[in-house]
Symmetry: C2
Subunit: 332 residues, 2 copies
């Protein structure tokens, strides 16, 4: 919106100005607004987002994942406090598609990051509820735009990796961090195939007490494995670090690695990645909405179970089945 | 089709009976038919596929990929000859989305597998041309059904890994094999992130002459890296073997590994994977066709370039842009 346009047509949503000024309650309300499925709320949310868009993008966007028990909350809290001490404003969002409205998610749970949640310069928000990963991801992307407009210059999105959520998170951040347990091997049960090569930085946690040498050996093993399986001439080779979130060692070094990554990519590299992510989001959104419309169509809904069954059992060729579903949807 | 139905309503496409009897020309013509984009050809192809469906599924479906220069053609030829000697009928298909109609693809090129192409029990087909990976993948899946109906009990799909073609191939086979060069490191330039963990079997080629020990060390390194990064309690842990396609060593062992894999998965496991693949194909097909219809819509086509540009530059929120495209398409 140009200054001239703003003078003639001020944006008058009551959340707009307070949010831009950094008011936490306005930010929280705006996020609740974008999470709503009501059509009138959606329209208001769209208008608010569009008006705030010029004020977004000015954060370092980080994704963090790791198997349950690796110490994600402890790490994020320690990391967040370090950033705040250095003068940053940190937002922590979460994607957990399994969270239910009543139960809530353990991710982004303030009780697990109690010290951080008490900081005025920290904003922590649990995962939005949602029936599809696509819906949850969209709300989280929009929440990230809002926290940026509210002045947060580091935005962290965490996930425990249910289904495809790691890919969704990697698709909305500048850098993806994988937390690992110190002893590798059996402790890695639960790391899904595909997550390791999403990571731009791997951090072996719990490098304290008896496990310091074990953690260092694991880090070295991971690095060797990465270099073997994923040699690259790209601007950045994924690094492997150790830390102890509990004792506060290695945390500053993680932030330094983030800095090195950003230098390696350059502003142009980050902007290019974000542009591609925005375009992919556009097409995902279009695709998901179209598919939802198809699935909702009464005749298609009636047809689908038998179609899927026949396709799965090999009685009907998938291309023929697709044609039937589409002809029904498009009324041909 | 039941015997009774066949008696009352014989399927009368002239390609049907010869193809089922194993006639190579009928098979080749049928594949050309499914590659056609003409509406009347498509209708005939659908009918033919549906009629042949009960005769499909009876092959071992293998995907093979590797960086250029790793010796894929030499390997497939040697492997194919071994299978034919053992009494099998082998089909080799290819996915190479970059192939143009006039230029042809180097994959599935009979001149690179000359000995194999002369075998009566081998059927080699170059990649279909196509403008999208989805279109090429669909034609290849359908070609695989046809080669199975024609009596081939091993179906190999090869790819060089342009874009996302490895994923497309892994999604249509029972087992995915990655060929690797003997010395790892720099020779792996070109292996895309994500390909390694698609592989159920890794084969280090060129384990001959000076490179035998190097190849064995590489195989051991790869195995260690895999076990570290992808520990699994699944029925099958990816194996790493060495071979020399040139000298013919280790080829029988690759086929034995395929057999071990099938035993580990069991018939139920293979059927389950194929059922899931068929369902995914159905939804991919629906999604792709819907998106193509949207992109073709005259008003949407007019709107899209500016929409994408604004989204990529951060001037318009992707969700708002998606809504505009969809409202235009659905005429709202």
């Amino acid at each position: 919106m140009t200054a001239a346009a703003a003078k003639t047509k001020p944006f008058d949503d009551p959340l707009y100005a307070p949010l831009l000024a950094g008011d936490r309650r306005a930010l929280a309300r705006a996020i609740t607004l974008i999470e709503s499925t009501r059509e009138d709320h959606r329209a208001r949310a769209d208008a608010l987002l569009t008006a705030l868009l010029p004020h977004t993008g000015k954060s370092v966007r980080l994704g963090i994942t790791g198997v349950p028990g690796v110490g994600k909350s402890t790490f994020i809290e320690r990391f967040g406090l370090h950033l705040i001490e250095a003068g940053h404003k940190v937002a922590v969002l979460a994607i957990d598609p399994s969270s239910k409205r009543t139960g809530g998610s353990i991710l982004g749970d303030k009780t697990r990051m109690e010290r951080l949640s008490r900081e005025p310069d920290a904003f922590i928000r649990p995962s939005p509820a949602g029936t599809t990963l696509g819906g949850v991801a969209r709300r989280t992307r929009e929440a990230m735009l809002l926290v940026e407009a509210a002045g947060h210059d580091v935005a962290i999105v965490e996930t425990v990796g249910v289904g495809q959520s790691e890919t969704a998170v990697a698709d909305m951040v500048d850098m993806f961090i994988l937390l690992l347990p110190p002893s590798g091997g059996d402790d890695l049960q639960g790391i899904k195939k595909g997550v390791v090569e999403l990571a731009d930085l791997l951090v072996v946690n719990k490098a304290d007490g008896d496990l310091v040498k074990t953690a260092q050996r694991s880090a070295s093993d991971y690095l060797h494995a990465l270099r073997l399986l994923y040699p690259t001439t790209a601007a950045w080779m994924p690094e492997v670090r150790t830390c102890s979130a509990l004792e506060g060692h290695g945390i500053a070094e993680v932030w330094q690695a983030v800095g090195r990554y950003r230098v390696a990519q350059g502003e142009a590299g980050i902007a290019k990645r974000r542009g591609a992510q925005a375009r992919a989001w556009l097409w995902n959104e279009i695709g998901e909405t179209l598919m939802a419309a198809l699935r909702r169509h009464p005749d298609v809904r009636h047809l689908l179970p038998a179609l899927e069954r026949d396709v799965e059992s090999g009685a009907l060729a998938p291309s023929a089945a697709a044609r039937r579903a589409l002809d029904t949807f498009l009324g041909r």
